[in-house]
C-alpha cells in the first residue's frame, strides 16, 4: 500500500481546510440529529430494528432459495432476469442490451452497485452516453469524482463549487450560488436528457422474492421519471437486496429513510412488478464477491446493510476525514468492512480508520455489529501480514508489555520519567504521531497502583 495515499494521509490533507472540515463535521452531525428525532418520534424503534435484522438474517441464510423464487416470479411477470458473477458480467450484459436496442443515451438513477462495477466507464468506453440523474450523482459525474457518501454523494462540495461547475457545463449564471436556482438549472438539463434517452438504468433498494417485484426509493423522483419515459428499464441489483415477502417491506421502509436523512419516508417509494405494457424490463442479479463474503461467518452479517449511511453520519472519523479518504465508493464504517473483501491489500488501512467507539453499531437500523467487525478485520489483516511493518511491530511490542506485569510497571515508570525529564522524546510528531493535534499530558506523581495501595487498600 502506498503510504502517501492511505486513509490517514488523505484525511490529513482533507483537514488542511479547517473551515470546510468543520462544516462537513457539523453538517453530517446535523443529519445524525435529524435521524435521532425521526427514530424517537416513532414508537417501538428497537423492535423494528430487531425485525429488520431478523428478516435480513433469515433471507441471507436461505439466499439460494429466495433468489430462485425471485427469478421465477419475475420471469412469470415478463421480466428478463440476468445473472452476473462479476462486475464485468454486469457491464457486458448492459452493453449487450444497449447494442441490441441501438441505444446511444442512457439515464441512470443512483446505484452504488454500478459504481462498484464501474459501469459508466465501461459504457463510455464503448461510446454510449450515460447521464446520472440524481442531482448529487450528476454533480460528481460532471466533476469525474466518486461519491463521498452513499446517500449524499456531493456532501464534500460547497455551493460555490457547484455554481462554478454548472456555469461551465450548463451555462448557468456565473456567481449564482442559490441552491434552488442551481437545482432548477439541473432540472432543465436532466429533463432534456431523460426525454431523449433510450434506456433507463436504476438500482434496487429491495427485491421481493415472493412476487419478483423491485422497490426503488428516491426523493427526486428521477428513477421513476427515467423508467416511465423510456422503453427499456434495466435494474441492477446486488443479490443481498432480497427480502422474502411484500409484508416484510414496511419494516424496512420504517427504517430506511429515518436512518438515512431523518425523513419518515422518501418522497417516492416505487414498486415495480413486471414491465409496463409494450415495454421491456431487465433485472441483473449481481454477485461480485457477495457469495464468498456470505460464506465468512465473521463478516456475513455486514451483507444485511440497507445502505442508509447512518454509520457514516455518526462516525467521528468519517465526519472529520471526508468520504474520499476511504478511496472506496462506500465510505465510512460499513465501507471499511466491505472494501477489504474486495482488495485486502489496497484497503488494509480502512479497518484502522475508526476509534471503535461503537456509535455505528448503535445507529445501524439492521443491527450490524460494525465496530466489532472492524476489530475482527484488524486482527485478520495483522495476522495475514497486510499491515505496515511499523504497525505490526508496535502491536507485538504492546502485546508483550501489556501481558507482563513487570514490563508494564517498568514501562509506566519509564514513561513518567520521560514525561518529566525528556519530554522532547514524546513531543515530536515525527517520533510520536499521537501529538500531531494533541499535547502529551503532564506526568502523574505516581502510578495508579501506588496510589491505590496508599489510599484504598489500607482502608
Amino acid at each position: 500500500m502506498n503510504i502517501t495515499s492511505d486513509h490517514a494521509a488523505l484525511a490529513e490533507k482533507f483537514n488542511k481546510d479547517r473551515a470546510r472540515t468543520q462544516w462537513h463535521d457539523e453538517t453530517l452531525w446535523w443529519v445524525r440529529a435529524k435521524r435521532d428525532n425521526a427514530t424517537t418520534a416513532l414508537q417501538h424503534w428497537e423492535e423494528i430494528r430487531e425485525a429488520g435484522s431478523s428478516i435480513k438474517e433469515h433471507t441471507l441464510n436461505h439466499l439460494p432459495h429466495y433468489l430462485l423464487r425471485f427469478e421465477k416470479e419475475a420471469r412469470a411477470k415478463g421480466v428478463h432476469v440476468h445473472w452476473a458473477f462479476e462486475g464485468g458480467d454486469l457491464n457486458k450484459i448492459v452493453l449487450d442490451i444497449t447494442r441490441s436496442k441501438n441505444a446511444r443515451l442512457i439515464v441512470k438513477s443512483k446505484s452504488m452497485l454500478t459504481e462498484e462495477c464501474k459501469l459508466n466507464e465501461h459504457l463510455e468506453h464503448h461510446q454510449i452516453e450515460v447521464v446520472d440523474t440524481d442531482l448529487g450523482e450528476l454533480i460528481i459525474q460532471m466533476r469525474k469524482e466518486v461519491p463521498s457518501h452513499i446517500v449524499l454523494p456531493a456532501i464534500h462540495l460547497k455551493k460555490q463549487e457547484v455554481s462554478d461547475l454548472f456555469n461551465e457545463r450548463l451555462k448557468s449564471e456565473p456567481g449564482n450560488t442559490d441552491p434552488q436556482y442551481l437545482t432548477r438549472e439541473a432540472r432543465k438539463f436532466l429533463r432534456e436528457k431523460i426525454r431523449a434517452a433510450d434506456i433507463a438504468i436504476t438500482g434496487v433498494n429491495f427485491g421481493i422474492a415472493e412476487s419478483g417485484s423491485i422497490v426503488i426509493c428516491t426523493n427526486e423522483g428521477n428513477a421513476d421519471l427515467g423508467v416511465h419515459q423510456t422503453k427499456v428499464h434495466i435494474a441492477c441489483m446486488g443479490i443481498e437486496k432480497l427480502i422474502p415477502s411484500m409484508n416484510d417491506l414496511p419494516v424496512f421502509l420504517k427504517l430506511l429513510a429515518r436512518s438515512a436523512t431523518g425523513q419518515a419516508i422518501t418522497s417516492y417509494t416505487s414498486i415495480y412488478s413486471g414491465p409496463a405494457e409494450g415495454k421491456e424490463m431487465h433485472i441483473i442479479l449481481v454477485d461480485n464477491g457477495r457469495s464468498t463474503h456470505l460464506a465468512d461467518p465473521v463478516f456475513r452479517s455486514s451483507l444485511k446493510c440497507i445502505r442508509c449511511g447512518a454509520c457514516m453520519n455518526t462516525c467521528p472519523v468519517y465526519r472529520r476525514s471526508g468520504g474520499h479518504s476511504y478511496r472506496y465508493h462506500v465510505a465510512g464504517p460499513i465501507g471499511s468492512i466491505l472494501a477489504p473483501h474486495v482488495d485486502k491489500n489496497k484497503y488494509s488501512d480502512l479497518p484502522f480508520a475508526s476509534t471503535l467507539c461503537g456509535s455505528c453499531s448503535n445507529v445501524c437500523p439492521v443491527k450490524i455489529n460494525i465496530h466489532e467487525q472492524l476489530w475482527h478485520w484488524r486482527q485478520r489483516l495483522t495476522e495475514s501480514g497486510n499491515v505496515s511493518t511499523g504497525k505490526k511491530l508496535g502491536i507485538h511490542f504492546l502485546n508483550r508489555v501489556l501481558s507482563s506485569t513487570t514490563l508494564f510497571r517498568l514501562g509506566g515508570a519509564m514513561l513518567r520519567w520521560t514525561l518529566r525529564h525528556a519530554r522532547f522524546l514524546v513531543n515530536s510528531p515525527k517520533l510520536n504521531p499521537w501529538v500531531k493535534n494533541r499535547e502529551m499530558p503532564a506526568a502523574p506523581g505516581e502510578s495508579f497502583r501506588d496510589w491505590y495501595k496508599k489510599n484504598v487498600s489500607q482502608q
Binding site: T183, N219, G221, M246, V251, I265, S273, A276
Partner: protein, 189 residues
C-alpha cells in the same frame, strides 16, 4: 459454467427450504389519525386542506391557475389535456387509495393514475383522499394486496425534493414542485 452456476456453486448448491420467519412489530398508535397524518404530510412538504365536498377541489384548481393544463381522474374536476402529453403540464388531479399517518405518504397505482409518467411530468400534484382511508401504521396500509394487483404502485410523500447542494432543501428537484392533499371529511360526499 454460466454466471448463475458459478454463484450457486459458491453457495455450495445449498438450496434449503426456509423455515418460518417470525418477528413481531407492534403497531403505531395515535390519538387522532387525521391530525397526525396532516402533521407528517406537511413535514414532507405536502400542503393539506380538509374539505367537505370534492367540488372544493375544482374551485381551488380553477382559482390556482385559470388557464392551466389539467389531467384529472376525479369526476367534478374537468381535465383539458389529453393523456398522451409529451411535456410538463400544470395539474394532475387523482384520488389516493389510502393515506398513512405514520409517514404522511399516500398510495397511488396504475388503477388510480392516468399514465405513470403523469405523476412526474405534472408541476402540481393534486390528491384527493377520503379521511376514512387514513390508517395509522404503514403495516395497516395493505401494501401487499394493493401492489400485487398492479404493475406499478407508489407511496408518495410531498413533492419531488433534494438537498444535494449543501443540504439546502429544494422542492421540485425533478418531478412536481408542489403536492396538494385534499382530505375529504368522513361523512361528506
Amino acid at each position: 459454467m454460466t454466471a448463475k452456476e458459478k454463484i450457486f456453486a459458491a453457495f455450495g448448491d445449498n438450496v434449503t427450504e426456509p423455515g418460518n420467519l417470525s418477528y413481531a412489530v407492534p403497531l403505531q398508535r395515535c390519538e387522532d389519525r387525521t391530525a397526525s397524518f396532516i402533521e407528517t404530510a406537511t413535514r414532507a412538504g405536502s400542503e393539506c386542506r380538509q374539505i367537505s365536498s370534492v367540488d372544493e377541489v375544482r374551485v381551488w384548481v380553477e382559482n390556482a391557475a385559470p388557464s392551466g393544463s389539467i389531467i384529472s381522474k376525479v369526476a367534478p374536476v374537468p381535465g383539458n389535456l389529453s393523456h398522451d402529453f409529451d411535456d410538463e403540464f400544470d395539474f394532475l388531479v387523482v384520488r389516493a387509495a389510502t393515506g398513512i399517518a405514520e409517514n404522511g405518504s399516500v398510495w397511488l397505482d396504475d388503477a388510480l393514475v392516468p399514465e405513470r409518467k403523469s405523476l412526474f411530468f405534472c408541476k402540481h400534484l393534486v390528491i384527493v383522499l377520503n379521511e376514512a382511508d387514513i390508517v395509522t401504521d404503514l403495516m395497516e396500509a395493505d401494501i401487499k394486496s394493493r401492489s400485487l394487483k398492479v404493475g406499478y404502485g407508489v407511496l408518495i410523500s410531498g413533492p419531488s425534493k433534494t438537498a444535494d447542494i449543501e443540504q439546502s432543501l429544494v422542492m421540485g428537484a425533478q418531478g412536481p414542485i408542489s403536492c396538494h392533499l385534499f382530505i375529504l371529511r368522513s361523512g361528506s360526499l
